[in-house]
C-alpha cells in the first residue's frame, strides 16, 4: 500500500518488466526500472504514459540527469534500510535538479525512518498493510522540532 504523509492512497503505477508488456497492456501509469529506461528510452517515450522510474539504492542519478522531465514519479528502492544513499539522492533531486514530482521510497525501509524520508524530499512510501499503524505512530510522535532547517 502507498502512504503519503498520513493518507493511504491508490497506486496507479504498475511495474513493467519488459517492453512487450508496454504495447500489449496499454497501461496508463507505468513504473519502469532504470535498466529498462536506459535500454529502451526511445521506444518508451513514443507512448504517452505517465512514467514512473524505479532506482535501486545502489544506482546513481547520473544516467537520468537530463531526463527528469519525463517522470511523474521517482521511486527509490532500498536494498536494505541500512543503505542510506537514497536520502542523499532524493535531496539532490529536489535541491540540485529541482524535481517537483513525486518521490517515493520502497523496498526494505522502516517506519523509524519515515520522518527522515519526508524531510529529505520523499512524498510517499510503499509499505505493508500490517505495519500501517506503526508508520502513522512515527508521524504522530514527530513534533516538527529539528536541529536542521
Amino acid at each position: 500500500m502507498i502512504l503519503q504523509r498520513d493518507k493511504v492512497k491508490k497506486n496507479p503505477f504498475q511495474i513493467i518488466q519488459n517492453v512487450d508488456e508496454l504495447v500489449e497492456m496499454k497501461k496508463k501509469s507505468i513504473l519502469i526500472t532504470l535498466d529498462l529506461w536506459e535500454a529502451q528510452k526511445k521506444l518508451i517515450t513514443k507512448h504517452k504514459f505517465n512514467l514512473g522510474l524505479e532506482i535501486a539504492s545502489d544506482q546513481s542519478l547520473g544516467p537520468i540527469k537530463n531526463d527528469l522531465h519525463y517522470f511523474k514519479l521517482i521511486q527509490f528502492k532500498f536494498i536494505t534500510f541500512k543503505d542510506g544513499r537514497p536520502f542523499s539522492l532524493a535531496k539532490k533531486l529536489r535541491r540540485s535538479y529541482n524535481f517537483k514530482n513525486e518521490i517515493r521510497g520502497s523496498g526494505h525501509i522502516l517506519p523509524d525512518q519515515y520522518i527522515f524520508l519526508l524531510r529529505c524530499g520523499f512524498d510517499s512510501v510503499e509499505i505493508e498493510e500490517k505495519n500501517l499503524e506503526t508508520w502513522l505512530k512515527f508521524l504522530e510522535m514527530d513534533k516538527g522540532i529539528y536541529y536542521q532547517p
Binding site: 545502489d58 541500512k82 539532490k92 522502516l110 529539528y146
Partner: protein
C-alpha cells in the same frame, strides 16, 4: 558550559519515547534483531561479549557536577557500581539490562544527557581539545563550534544511515590535543589576515588501515562551516563503499580517489548544494559562544601552597597545568592508578568528584580523549586541599603523559571481537613502572594498547603501540614504534615479530634502554625515535 534550550529538551525527550517504542517492538517481535541493531546502536546500545553496553555521550567532554553525580547514580542503580570513560570523551556502562535502558535514558534526560549517536553508522559525538578555552595559546575556543556541529549532526535526516561511523574533532590550537588528524574530519581553527576560519582535514582514521588525514581546505570561512560539512558528508554518503565494512570509512574513499579528487568533489558539491539556511550568521554564533564564558571573574595573585610532601610535589609537577587566567590552574585527574583498568571510575569516586568540582572548579569537569578527567578552573591556593581530597579517593596518581598513562581498549575481557586481552597488559605496565622517579626519568611517552586489529586502543598512534594477536590460540603482542596523534601525526611502524605475554615487558624495557642510551639532552622518546629510525630499535630488540 552549555545549557539545554527548550528545543534540546524536547528533542531528547522525544527520542527517549521513540526508543522505548523501539524496544517494545523488538520484544514483541515486530523488529528483527538485524533491524533493531542499527536503531539501538544509534542510541548507544551495544551487545558485548557478556551483556549490553550503554555508551552515554559527553559532548566534547564537558560535564557538570550534577551530571557526574547522575552518572554515579546510574552506575549504582543499573550497573555494577562503575563506569568507563572512553577515548572519545564518552562514558560506558558495561552491564545494563535492555529493559532498563529506556529508564536510564529518561534519567539521563533529566540532567541534559543522552546516548544519541554514540555508536552506529552516523555522525558521532564531536570531540574536542580538553584544554579548550583555558589555555593561552589558542586562536579561539573550539567548544562552541563543537556545539554548533553537535546540533547540526544530531538526527540529521540525510546522514543517519552512512556507510560507516563518522567522527569529527575540533581544535583551536597549534598543539593538537584532540587527535584531529586521525578523525574522519578534523577541523583546526586558524587565523589568516586577522580573520578566523578553519583548516579542514579529511580521511584520517585507525582500524585495520590507518591513515593520517589530508588537508582539503586551507581556509574555510566560519559562516560556511555547516554547508561545507554537508558537502563532505554528502559525497561520502553517495560514494563511500558499502560492499565491504572494512573499506567503508571515508579514509578509504579519500585514499582511493586521492586528495585532489576528493577536494574537487567536495568543492563541487559545496557549490551545488550550499543552502542559505545553513549559513551561520554572527548572531547565532555569538549566542552559542555566550554559553562558554569562563566562570572565573578575574586574575589573582593566588599562590600554590608549599608543602614538603613528596607525593604532593610530584603531583604538582606532573598533573597541574597553568590556566590562562593568572592565579589559577588546571588539574588532571589520572584514571590510570597502578594495577587498574585505564579509564574506569567507581560510583563513589564519581560522586565525590562531583562534590569536589562544585567546591573547587565551578562545578565543571572534563573528560580527555586519553581517558583522564580534568578539573578546569582551580584557584592556586586550593591545590593542596584538593590534592588531599583526591588522594583519599585514589585519584592523585602523578602520571599524566608518562609511561603508565596508557590508553587501552576493553579487549578480550569484554569485547566480542578481541583477539587478545588488553586491560591486563595495561595493568602489567602500570605495576611494573609504578615508581614516579622511574617514569619521570623516561619522560613523555604514550603507550596505546588494542585487543585486536580494529585499533580502538589507538595503538597505531602510540609512541609505543601494542596490538594483541591470537597466534594458534596463544595471546601474543605486536609492537609498533613512532606513532603519534598530535599535530605531527604519524602511524607507528611495526618493529618485528610479536612477543608473548611474559616477554612483552622485557621487550618494552629493551626499547627504553635503546632510547636511554642514545637520547640527546631533553629529547623525548618520539623525537629520539624519529632521529634514530626503527632499525636501531629493531637491532637492539632482536639481537
Amino acid at each position: 558550559m552549555y545549557k539545554y534550550t527548550e528545543q534540546d529538551k524536547k528533542i531528547v525527550k522525544n527520542r527517549t519515547k521513540e526508543f522505548k517504542f523501539q524496544v517494545e517492538r523488538r520484544i514483541n517481535g515486530d523488529l528483527t534483531e538485524e533491524e533493531f541493531k542499527p536503531l539501538r546502536l544509534m542510541n548507544g546500545l551495544y551487545l558485548q561479549l557478556h551483556a549490553y553496553m550503554l555508551r552515554v555521550a559527553i559532548p566534547y567532554g564537558e560535564l557538570s557536577d550534577i551530571q557526574l553525580n547522575k552518572l554515579a547514580e546510574i552506575a549504582d542503580k543499573y550497573d555494577k557500581g562503575y563506569g568507563h570513560f572512553t577515548t572519545r570523551q564518552n562514558i560506558q556502562f558495561n552491564w545494563p539490562k535492555l529493559l532498563d535502558v529506556p529508564d536510564i535514558l529518561s534519567e539521563l534526560a533529566e540532567v541534559e544527557m543522552h546516548a544519541i549517536q554514540t555508536s552506529g553508522n552516523c555522525i558521532r559525538n564531536v570531540s574536542c581539545d580538553h584544554l579548550a578555552g583555558i589555555n593561552s595559546e589558542e586562536v579561539e575556543d573550539p567548544r562552541p563550534w563543537c556545539e554548533i556541529i553537535r546540533k547540526w549532526s544530531t538526527f540529521h535526516p540525510e546522514f543517519s544511515f552512512l556507510p560507516r561511523k563518522f567522527k569529527i574533532a575540533v581544535t583551536g590550537s597549534e598543539k593538537d590535543r584532540a587527535a584531529i588528524k586521525v578523525h574522519d574530519i578534523g577541523l583546526k581553527i586558524v587565523k589568516k589576515l586577522g580573520t578566523i576560519g578553519f583548516e579542514v582535514f579529511v580521511g584520517g582514521g585507525q582500524g585495520r588501515s590507518p591513515y593520517v588525514a589530508k588537508k582539503i581546505n586551507d581556509f574555510l570561512e566560519k559562516k560556511d562551516l555547516l554547508n561545507y560539512l554537508e558537502a563532505i558528508l554528502s559525497v561520502y554518503n553517495e560514494l563511500g563503499r558499502r560492499d565491504n565494512i572494512y573499506k567503508a570509512r571515508i579514509k578509504i574513499l579519500v585514499n582511493e580517489l586521492g586528495q585532489e579528487k576528493i577536494k574537487e568533489l567536495v568543492d563541487e558539491k559545496f557549490e551545488e548544494l550550499s543552502d542559505k539556511s545553513l549559513e551561520l550568521n554572527q548572531n547565532e554564533i555569538n549566542n552559542i559562544f555566550n554559553f562558554f564564558k569562563l566562570p572565573i571573574e578575574k586574575k589573582t595573585n593566588s599562590k600554590v601552597p608549599i608543602h614538603s610532601d613528596k607525593e604532593y610535589n610530584h603531583w604538582l609537577q606532573q598533573n597541574v597545568i597553568n590556566h590562562k587566567i593568572r592565579g589559577h590552574s588546571i588539574v588532571v585527574i589520572s584514571l590510570k592508578p597502578p594495577g587498574k583498568p585505564p579509564g574506569d571510575a567507581t560510583s563513589s569516586q564519581m560522586r565525590e568528584l562531583s562534590k569536589i568540582s562544585k567546591d573547587f572548579s565551578y562545578g565543571e569537569i572534563r573528560v580527555t580523549h586519553e581517558q583522564n578527567l580534568i578539573l578546569p578552573h582551580i584557584l592556586n591556593s586550593n591545590l593542596y586541599e584538593l590534592w588531599s581530597r583526591l588522594k583519599k579517593l585514589g585519584l592523585s596518581t602523578p602520571n599524566f603523559g608518562l609511561i603508565t598513562d596508557t590508553i587501552c581498549c576493553p579487549g578480550l575481557d569484554y569485547c566480542a571481537l578481541a583477539t587478545a586481552r588488553s586491560i591486563p597488559i595495561s595493568q602489567k605496565i602500570s605495576n611494573h613502572f609504578k615508581e614516579y622517579s622511574v617514569q619521570e626519568k623516561i619522560g613523555d611517552l604514550k603507550i596505546k594498547i588494542s585487543g585486536c586489529i580494529n585499533a580502538c586502543g589507538h595503538h597505531h598512534v602510540g609512541n609505543i603501540g601494542i596490538l594483541g594477536l591470537d597466534k594458534n590460540g596463544e595471546e601474543s603482542y605486536q609492537i609498533t614504534l613512532g606513532g603519534s596523534a598530535t599535530e605531527k601525526a604519524s602511524i607507528g611502524q611495526i618493529v618485528g615479530p610479536s612477543f608473548s605475554t611474559e616477554n612483552l615487558i622485557p621487550a618494552i624495557e629493551r626499547i627504553l634502554k635503546t632510547y636511554e642510551e642514545n637520547k640527546k639532552k631533553n629529547e623525548d622518546f618520539l623525537s629520539a625515535f624519529n632521529r634514530l629510525g626503527i632499525d636501531k630499535f629493531k637491532e637492539d630488540l632482536y639481537k
